[in-house]
């Protein structure tokens, strides 16, 4: 059953202010980081594919805020945001983008394959929809062991058309797996608008096909996202049942670095329109209204975040490339040879 969420905000309270500040800082960090990454890519320091999360920050921040450290996260290739929101350092992520030995995947994964076993971050996957059953597998393991963790899966709305999505949601619902499937609907699968790719525009309707609870959520408001996620996580933790969250968001930049922000499949006006609902601006305005943010604090935050990202950039630049012998490591488990 799909419901639209009515925004309910916690207003006032020092705890809330602290929480919102944390959200703001995280989103700002992601924003500045992604912009810096875009710059690094243009300078040739990052190669291959680079998919930026700019405009979608509230989705990762709001949803991950609802999780515990022992929960699992799996996402697709637009993974920098989730990685940072989960707690991977800017240094580790930037170094991985630069392909250095100090990267979270030792330089052997790159932008699309960020992993962190300690943080339960199961990647970082390149094939559209391929990671959705993997997330369900983690949920299966949770249930198998009788735990109460949750496995969260992020994917774009275009992935909701691929076989793996359907096979997985069917089994997750059939077997009552403790999972949350988050469909980040940014309106476009690469250059194809959702209306041209999907028979249903309202993707949360797909929950019906699998008897799975589903919601459509405004993804530009981090507090709204947080609330929706709390409901889904509770359902998973306490009832061991999955939820499909269709979170409506927007990316302000192209699909990847090879794609223009506008002019091909999106008009400038459209992009400008959405920029007015920049999630950072949305939260900042809420905080100003609540009195928990002023210019000084904002500037300090900006400076802090900028320093952190600059530091990560320098760290990545100065880090060494992997040793040539690393070409042959990690193909097979170490103690068994070969």
């Amino acid at each position: 059953m799909a419901t639209s969420t009515k925004p309910e905000r916690t207003t006032g309270g020092a705890d809330a202010a602290e929480l919102h500040l944390r959200y703001l800082r995280q989103m700002l960090l992601m924003r500045v980081f992604e912009e810096k990454a875009g710059e690094a890519y243009s300078l040739g320091k990052i190669g291959g594919f680079c998919h930026l999360y700019i405009g979608q920050e509230a989705v990762a921040v709001g949803s991950i805020a609802a999780l515990r450290p022992d929960d699992y996260i799996t996402t697709a290739y637009r993974d920098h945001g989730q990685a940072l929101a989960r707690g991977m350092t800017a240094r580790a992520v930037m170094a991985e983008l630069f392909g250095k030995a100090t990267g979270c995947s030792k330089g052997k994964g790159g932008s699309m394959h960020l992993f962190d076993a300690g943080l339960g971050f199961l990647g970082g996957h390149g094939i559209v929809g391929s990671h959705i059953p993997i997330a369900a597998g983690a949920a299966f393991a949770i249930k198998y062991r009788g735990g109460d963790q949750v496995s969260v899966c992020y994917f774009g709305e275009a992935a909701a058309n691929i076989g793996a999505f359907h096979e997985t949601l069917n089994m997750a619902s059939l077997w009552d797996l403790p999972a949350v499937f988050i469909c980040e609907n940014n309106g476009y699968g690469m250059g194809t608008a959702v209306a041209r790719a999907s028979a249903v525009k309202n993707l949360s309707v797909r929950g019906n096909a699998y008897d799975m609870p589903a919601e459509t959520v405004d993804g530009q408001d981090v507090l709204v996202v947080r609330e929706a996620m709390d409901r889904a996580v509770a359902r998973a933790r306490t009832e061991s049942k999955p939820t499909l969250l269709e979170i409506r968001t927007y990316r302000f930049v192209g699909h990847s670095m090879s794609d223009a922000a506008h002019g091909t499949y999106r008009s400038k006006d459209e992009v400008e329109e959405y920029r007015r609902r920049d999630p950072i601006k949305v939260l900042a305005e809420q905080m100003r209204a609540a009195g928990s943010l002023d210019d000084a604090r904002w500037s300090a935050l900006e400076a802090e975040v900028k320093a952190e990202v600059d530091d990560a950039y320098t760290f990545a630049e100065e880090s060494p490339d992997p040793d040539p012998s690393e070409l042959f490591t990690d193909v097979y488990a170490p103690e068994q040879g070969r």
């Binding site: 699992y72 992993f115 959705i132 993997i134």
Partner: protein
């Protein structure tokens, strides 16, 4: 020593590993309540319950991926493909996910999973149900590929595969399930990556795996009547290949025939021929000859199907060629 079928050997292996390690579970179509499409998992649901013996919908890609995810967080799944023909639907999970996860994550996430099921042809199952794909998987770094021919090897290798921390592609054979053979009592493990000389000989090396092992043993008997002692090398594992046993045998006999059920182009045999010509060149008294399945989709008609498969006569002819024997 007990004489049991290949099927029962696999069943024993599964049972023992399920008992041995709580993290092991079996998942696939019809594995639980149906006792397995080929009855390999007979009795397991009853003994271990539905948590550990899991029936799936027909969704190979989906449940292969679930296996990968479960393995990444520490379980040890055995994912059954009803036949390896259907695994084509799951190949993205086997090749893009399972094989690569350890490497892409810089060593953080291994995938200790076994994908198992019958591969190759049976009888008159026609083009889509008769394919031998071991060379496809052997091509992929990060995977191990195992092809037991006998009940003893089936049991020992399945146990080793389940205990292996890497993803293992385990190819059985519908035509092998009823074959009987002696299996050692007690804990019987066969190491992955080790070939076995099933019949020692001095005059020519016959290299084979899976169903072609019986074919080569029969050919060896026929060759013995002609005064030729053939050595039959059962690869048992395709990847990693036991290069030492292969090269050692050819160095002793100086001539070699490589036999496989699969298609010729870029088949397993092509890799073996490359190995031998490169590393045992001076030992060769003749070029190496391959006997393979015919380079065609499998036909339905019984005679046509028979003519497409390797048989003892073809192996004997090939052996004679490398022995420079003319006439009968």
């Amino acid at each position: 020593m007990a004489t049991i079928t290949y099927r029962d050997a696999l069943n024993q292996a599964l049972r023992e590993e399920l008992q041995h390690d709580d993290r092991v579970f079996l998942m696939g179509e019809e594995v639980a309540e149906y006792d397995g499409a080929y009855k390999v998992s007979r009795g397991l649901l009853k003994e271990f319950g539905p948590k550990r013996i899991v029936d799936t919908p027909i969704a190979e890609l989906g449940f292969a991926g679930i296996g990968v995810g479960a393995a990444m967080v520490g379980l040890r799944p055995v994912i059954e493909m009803m036949t390896w023909n259907f695994a084509l639907l799951a190949i993205d999970q086997i090749v893009n996910a399972a094989a690569k996860m350890r490497y892409m994550s810089g060593g953080q996430f291994g995938v200790p999973i076994v994908f198992r099921g019958p591969g190759g042809a049976a009888l008159q199952l026609a083009a889509q149900h008769s394919q031998a794909f071991e060379s496809w998987y052997a091509h992929i770094p990060g995977l191990k590929v195992v092809t037991p021919a006998t009940p003893a090897d089936a049991k020992g290798l399945l146990k080793s595969a389940i205990r292996d921390d890497d993803p293992v592609v385990f190819l059985e054979g519908e035509m092998l399930y009823n074959n009987k053979g002696e299996v050692p009592d007690g804990e019987h493990l066969v190491p992955i990556g080790s070939a076995e000389i099933k019949r020692p000989g001095t005059d020519v090396t016959l290299i084979c795996h899976s169903k072609t092992v019986a074919v080569c043993l029969k050919a060896a008997d026929q060759l013995a009547e002609l005064g030729v002692q053939a050595e039959v090398v059962d690869l048992r594992t395709i990847r990693p290949l036991d290069t030492g046993t292969i090269l050692g045998s050819v160095t002793r006999t100086n001539r070699c025939v490589v036999v496989e059920e699969g298609w010729p182009f870029a088949g397993v045999g092509a890799q073996i021929v490359d190995l031998i010509q490169r590393d045992a060149f001076d030992a060769l008294d003749a070029p190496i000859i391959r006997v393979t399945g015919a380079d065609v989709p499998m036909p339905y008609n019984r005679q046509l199907e028979k003519s497409s498969k390797p048989d003892a006569g073809k192996v004997v002819d090939a052996a004679k060629q490398v022995l420079y024997m003319v006439g009968s």
